[in-house]
Symmetry: C2
Subunit: 395 residues, 2 copies
């Protein structure tokens, strides 16, 4: 029966046929799957679009906010990845396709589409016949002019995302705050995220021409998080960035990552950052993180997950947290330096840990301007990163 | 303030005080946590009982079906694990206690209970004060006479559990089938589990006296699964097994695992196992498992997750599965040997994979007695294991 279907396909005319290296197909499918949402209401977007052309195979996945395109070149470093027997295009159910290719038995996979969109996927002794969808129905990608691009190192881009996007808002009350604001001025890229209770700001000096299209963008936090997951940590290659009024594209060798941009004006945030420091503490990032982590154990069911901090004798910080039912915890964290006024302040343990987890430097500076004012966290050795947390009023 | 509380505890008289190695405390806490359920309606069972006596520290956790007791000896292999400063007992909120000890900063932990059950847990610069519960309220363990025990190697016990318990019923329609039946006769332990759609039977020959208390037990599948997780794979030590009418106890060096037994008579199952083989197939376990795994991808949303199998020319099996919406899959699995009648049969892919995943031998024998009769799976090199699956009627 399998053979019968096969020969029928051949007789009716092939719409597409390729033989492709399984490992490449699996890796690219995983990449584009990040854009596919099971919640989509647009039927064709439940699929992955597969396009075979003379240069190679392109996979596309999209949830209409994010679109990811991964490309497998026919040949790479002298190794043949793909044989294109008949160029063409098909859309296959993403969830099934991803699971199937992962489990195929052989190192190569043949994908063959007949004129009725029936798609045969064959590898070793295994043969799948899937009902395909018409690739012409798949949304077209926006065409972005590639004249004015901005280049950024992959590992740096990943770090920027990690150090800022955690602070975007998850509430749709002010949709603009669900995005991160990227502003390019005087050869400096400034990335800011805030949910109005905390803020993260990362600046990067860039050695580029000034005539690119990126000046002020608000990129959805979700898009940046997915982009961060796709970028390879070890890779120091550059990512090309191209933007229009409503789209941004990040390009690497084999991946094109499109995201829509948020509309509207991002609020001015520089005014939130205090500069009249009243108490300054220098201490080990890890010591503070672990102490807050333990102190938060008792308060984790509370809505605010609150901990109290006070300076002790200009030599250490005491962290206190309590839950009437469970008990109390005291942590003492030795400081390298405490200067200025004595201080008692309360804040969300979660916000503090979110920030501390993203400070890579061994020591950090905390600058307080009073118990009711936002305070600043900075790595001692990196002036380009600043994090801000609003305290919580307690009695 | 921390110090104030501390000295108050000392003044009012210590109820218990120990200093214990953190790694031992963490490991034992994790073990007893397996018995603690967040769903319990008995308040004291949300806690872990901690008892310090001259020989060491005992931790107890229970959901009233399963009780796990872990023991840390004061000294072990010449290394001091614990200093018992004041023997005593306390019950602490299990969830909090487990999270706290895991995150404590120092290698040793001091646990100190005052006369009002307030418990101070101190390690390095960290101090927790937890509201304790009265250990006298904690249920007493059943006392089992240790005269008649059965010894079984730890790795063997773990294998028995893995190869049978998957087949117990998860439905409370026939509660007795949620347990596995262990029968000891003629120096042979026979372990059977069935949910009436499939069955697993593992026999073990044991070189022991006949005068032990274990003759016919029905042990809850859930208990055996938790026991399996606690047993260390690499360890070839023996487990002592003791049973009464309603309790079974598994004892290792440091752990006592109690489970209630299911009441009622376990059904006779030997009659279900066919012995008139009409078709016999010998093939590679892994080949079949991977083919069924792929074939099940398309049918995974169906209730029965159905695949069809047929013999082809006495040389291979064809596996077919289909979903009207998604498509079809064909798998061809070469057989080492096929004898007897041609066969077409349908069955649950999940049941087949559950069984194949637990057959460690490279090759297996499948014995069919017709398309509507249960079929048998057996490793080629192990007569002690038998698995049975009922086919599904299709048109």
């Amino acid at each position: 029966m399998a053979d019968a279907i096969h020969s029928m396909a051949v007789e009716e005319g092939l719409a597409m046929k390729v033989i492709v290296a399984k490992d490449k197909l699996v890796a690219c499918t995983n990449d584009v799957m990040r854009a596919v949402s099971s919640k989509t209401t647009i039927s064709i977007l439940t699929g992955i679009k597969i396009t075979a052309a003379s240069g190679g195979l392109t996979l596309t996945g999209s949830d209409s906010d994010i679109t990811i395109q991964a490309f497998i070149p026919t040949e790479e470093n002298g190794i043949e990845n793909i044989q294109i027997i008949k160029p063409g295009s098909i859309v296959l159910q993403a969830r099934y396709f991803a699971d199937i290719v992962k489990k195929l038995p052989d190192d190569t996979v043949t994908i063959e589409v007949d004129s009725r969109l029936m798609t045969r996927i064959q590898s070793g002794h295994s043969e799948f016949n899937l009902n395909g969808m018409d690739a012409d129905e798949y949304p077209r990608l926006p065409v972005l002019r590639e004249e004015n691009t901005l280049s950024i190192r992959k590992d740096l881009l990943k770090q920027i995302i990690r150090q800022t996007v955690y602070a975007v808002s998850t509430s749709e009350n002010r949709p603009i705050l669900t995005g991160a604001n990227w502003v390019f001025e005087n050869k400096t890229l400034k990335c800011v995220a805030t949910d109005s209770h905390r803020l993260a700001r990362r600046t990067v000096t860039m050695d580029v021409e000034e005539n690119h299209t990126i000046t002020n963008l608000v990129i959805p936090g979700k898009s940046l998080n997915e982009l961060g997951k796709i970028l390879d940590d070890r890779d120091q290659d550059v990512v090309e960035m191209i933007a229009t009024d409503n789209q941004v594209l990040f390009k690497t060798d084999h991946i094109q990552f499109y995201s829509r941009l948020l509309e509207g004006k991002y609020p001015e945030t520089e005014g939130l950052i205090p500069n009249d420091v009243k108490t300054e503490v220098v201490l080990k990032t890890k010591d503070l993180l672990q102490a807050i982590d333990r102190a938060s154990l008792l308060a984790r069911d509370e809505r605010n997950n609150l901990v109290k901090l006070k300076t002790v004798d200009q030599s250490s910080l005491e962290i206190l947290s309590q839950s009437p039912e469970v008990g109390r915890v005291y942590e003492n964290v030795p400081a390298n330096k405490i200067s200025g006024e004595e201080l008692r302040i309360s804040f969300s343990a979660k916000y503090m840990m979110d920030a501390l987890n993203r400070i890579d430097s061994e020591e950090l500076i905390i600058q307080f301007t009073g118990a009711m004012k936002p305070f600043i966290l900075k790595p001692v050795d990196d002036p380009d990163l600043l994090m801000l947390i609003l305290p919580v009023r307690t009695n």
